[in-house]
């Protein structure tokens, strides 16, 4: 994206990222179909900010998050971390760079080796990256990490199953922080947790961000949590970003019909409020065989004939914010309505 608001150094810049998964079949095991998990995604994240990424199950959020760290190889596109194109790095260089870029997963149960104690779990990254000279130094660092995420020091020799979900997520966060990263992909870090515990972890992530100057890509499907924690938000639909804006702008003035439907669907914890709700009809399309034109048109309440033919790009939206963009022909566009780009893949 060329136009950006705010100041601050760009830490991560994703350009035209594409990830396709081949589906093989038949006797020759040839590619019979392709999952278009991420299609032509571009965005920047500035140092110290949190970009929230929302969208429904299967829209490509995790694939995008993992591609950025090259835990899965992008099909095409570029990823610049502090100006360096990391898609060009070899395996060794990439391993070294991973110190700076970490990831926290949704399921704190699956993410931890059940046979390792907290001490062993936190030692591993320190050893891999040669960050602990002596045993004492290592222990000191582990205690420091445990303090940082609010784990009791005396639980250092305990195993993951002896902890609750929230505490396990704290261990995962401590492990990510062990190597002093600058950037963390948080892939649904609180989705598996109860509300009361969710709040503890969200606060912890925010405190750590302030204290350590961290930058986050925060993936979640709870729009309330995303608004709470994010500086900016990107909404994904079927592998594409369909709207992006500063968090407040997006929630106040959503432009894409999908964003509007999402926001209207949030259940409000107040029984006296009768909310006008946009109920989407129609089937969720498949990323194997996305519809022609705007990917959202089969479910869109305002779709026209033109939406089936034209593939909308991310248009700049009228308003104060320079980074408000939406991929809808009928959004309040700065350039006025045009024909968009003809449907092509």
């Amino acid at each position: 994206m060329s136009t950006q608001s705010n100041d601050g150094e760009i830490l991560l810049s994703v350009k035209n990222l594409v990830k396709r998964f081949p589906i093989k079949g038949g006797i020759l095991n040839r590619e019979v179909a392709t999952v278009r998990a991420v299609s032509d995604v571009s965005f920047d994240i500035r140092k110290g900010e949190t970009l929230g990424l929302v969208g429904e199950s299967g829209c490509g959020k995790s694939t995008l998050g993992r591609s950025i760290l090259r835990l899965i190889e992008p099909t095409s596109g570029n990823i610049f971390f502090k100006g360096q194109d990391i898609t060009k790095l070899g395996a060794d260089e990439m391993r070294r760079l991973r110190r700076r870029m970490q990831i926290i997963f949704q399921d704190p149960y699956a993410a931890l080796n059940p046979r390792m104690t907290v001490e062993q779990i936190l030692s591993e990254p320190l050893e891999i990256h040669g960050l602990a000279e002596s045993r004492e130094a290592k222990r000191k660092r582990i205690f420091q990490l445990m303090d940082l995420v609010g784990l009791r020091r005396e639980s250092i020799s305990r195993y993951p199953h002896e902890f609750s979900g929230g505490q396990r997520q704290r261990i995962c966060i401590a492990r990510a922080l062990a190597v002093e990263p600058e950037f963390i992909v948080c892939d649904e870090p609180v989705s598996a947790l109860d509300v009361s515990i969710q709040a503890q972890i969200v606060n912890l992530l925010q405190d750590l961000q302030k204290e350590l100057g961290l930058t986050y890509l925060f993936i979640a499907h709870d729009l309330k949590v995303v608004e709470h924690i994010s500086t900016r938000v990107a909404v994904m639909y079927l592998g594409k970003i369909v709207e992006t804006a500063e968090s407040e702008v997006l929630y106040e003035n959503p432009q894409h019909p999908y964003t509007r439907a999402l926001l209207s669907a949030i259940p409000i914890p107040d029984p006296t409020i009768k909310k006008e709700r946009i109920i989407l009809r129609g089937d969720v399309p498949s990323p194997i065989n996305p519809p022609a034109g705007c990917y959202f048109h089969p479910r869109c309440p305002i779709a026209t004939q033109k939406c089936q033919e034209v593939w909308p790009k991310l248009y700049e939206i009228n308003g104060e914010s320079k980074i408000h963009r939406a991929a809808c022909l009928y959004a309040d566009r700065k350039d006025g309505p045009d024909e968009g780009i003809l449907s092509s893949r």
Binding site: E56, S57, S164, G165, G166, Q167, D194, V195, S196, I197, Q198, A199, Q200, V202, N203, Q206, H221, L223, K224, V225, E227, H228, E248, Y251, E252, A261, L262, S264, A265, I266, P267, I268, P269, D270, P271, T272, I273, K274, K275, E276, R277, I278, I279, L280, G282, D283, V284
Partner: protein, 347 residues
């Protein structure tokens, strides 16, 4: 665009409706190697025709065990209903033999289970499974059963049900599988529907669709519903009454308005306060810069503290809270809709 309504709103008044299910002092225990866990420790509530009762609370507090107990589906061993009564239309289900209970299940009381994938059989088509449920309880020919199944699939909004009926579960999306579960649960017009986290695994847009569907069906047939969820937003929108559970006990109960406008148990307050508010929050609350939390975690069910079960996480705790377990006491309302809390303090 549609707005949300409860049945009681539609009628425009507090309808005098009949009590259909009474859970009285239900106690369900599990015998484990380390000891006995009393997962549900004396839970009572009433369910009324045409109304929705919500059960909320943290993971492990006993919501699913309560509903499985009503269905008499507690795995034994290790589990057992060790006390109380479950009165359905005045008759105690705990006295029913297996055959009588089979008749009740699906026919009178139906359940949507927490995990749709584990409760649909992957080797049978969804049609087979719905038809089996119908055939079990209704005296219909094969053809009639199939037609009824198609009708049910149509009712829950599955597109082209005539062809979809021959799909296997894995050929459907999560939201569609959940709708198949609902179709199955509703295929015999139950009087009571127990929905255990029916939308938790779904996206918000699909959740909105399913909740609207449940509401529509309820309005049409006057079914009573028990909705289990940990999403307080969903409770506020769908339920008439709410039971808040903590560590196997009811800690607060009352009408949905009371629970949300006037929560009196420190745990309920904590839960409501930990939800992030949005900048343009329709509730009119100011956006929080920092979330409030309930410190600590739920107690180990094998080593419960003496006195109030919430004491170690409670900001209002007194010495007296550690002496004896507080009784559930009515603080407002009448017999039909009491607002009760299990806390000695008035906050």
């Amino acid at each position: 665009m549609r707005s949300i309504r409860r049945l009681s709103d539609l009628e425009g008044k507090e309808a005098m409706s009949e009590k259909i299910l009474e859970v009285k002092n239900l106690e369900t225990s599990f015998r484990l190697e380390e000891g006995v866990v009393v997962a549900v420790a004396g839970v009572s509530f009433d369910v009324y025709k045409g109304k929705t009762l919500g059960i909320v609370g943290e993971s492990g507090c006993g919501k699913s065990v309560t509903s499985l107990s009503i269905m008499r589906l507690i795995p034994n061993p290790p589990g057992k209903i060790t006390g109380g009564e479950i009165l359905y239309k005045g008759k105690n289900l705990l006295d029913f033999d297996a055959a009588a209970m089979r008749k009740v299940r699906g026919n009178e009381i139906s359940m949507i289970f927490q995990e749709p994938m584990t409760s649909l059989n992957p080797v049978f088509t969804i049609g087979n499974q719905i038809i089996e449920a119908i055939a079990l309880h209704q005296n219909l020919s094969k053809k009639e059963c199939r037609n009824k199944a198609i009708e049910m699939l149509k009712l829950v909004g599955i597109p082209s049900p005539e062809t979809r009926i021959d799909d296997y579960p894995h050929q459907l999306s999560g939201g569609m599988r959940q709708r198949v579960m609902i179709a199955m649960a509703l295929s015999c017009n139950p009087q009571v529907l127990i929905a255990d986290e029916p939308t938790t695994a779904l996206d918000v847009t699909i959740q909105a669709q399913i909740l609207e569907l449940l509401r529509e069906l309820q309005n049409r047939v006057g079914m009573a519903m028990i909705l289990i969820t940990h999403d307080l937003g969903v409770v506020a929108e769908v339920c008439d009454e709410v039971v808040v559970m903590y560590a196997g006990k009811v800690v607060e109960q009352g009408s949905v308005e009371e629970i949300f406008k006037n929560p009196k148990h420190p745990y309920t307050r904590g839960l409501l306060n930990s939800i992030p508010t949005m900048k343009k929050d329709p509730t009119g609350k100011v956006k929080k810069t920092r979330l409030e939390t309930i410190p600590g975690i739920v107690p180990n069910m094998l080593h419960l503290p003496k006195g109030c079960r919430f004491q170690d996480r409670c900001t209002f705790v007194l010495d007296a809270c550690r002496q004896a377990e507080p009784e559930l006491r009515v603080i407002k309302g009448d017999d039909r809709l009491p607002h009760a809390i299990r806390c000695i303090r008035d906050i």
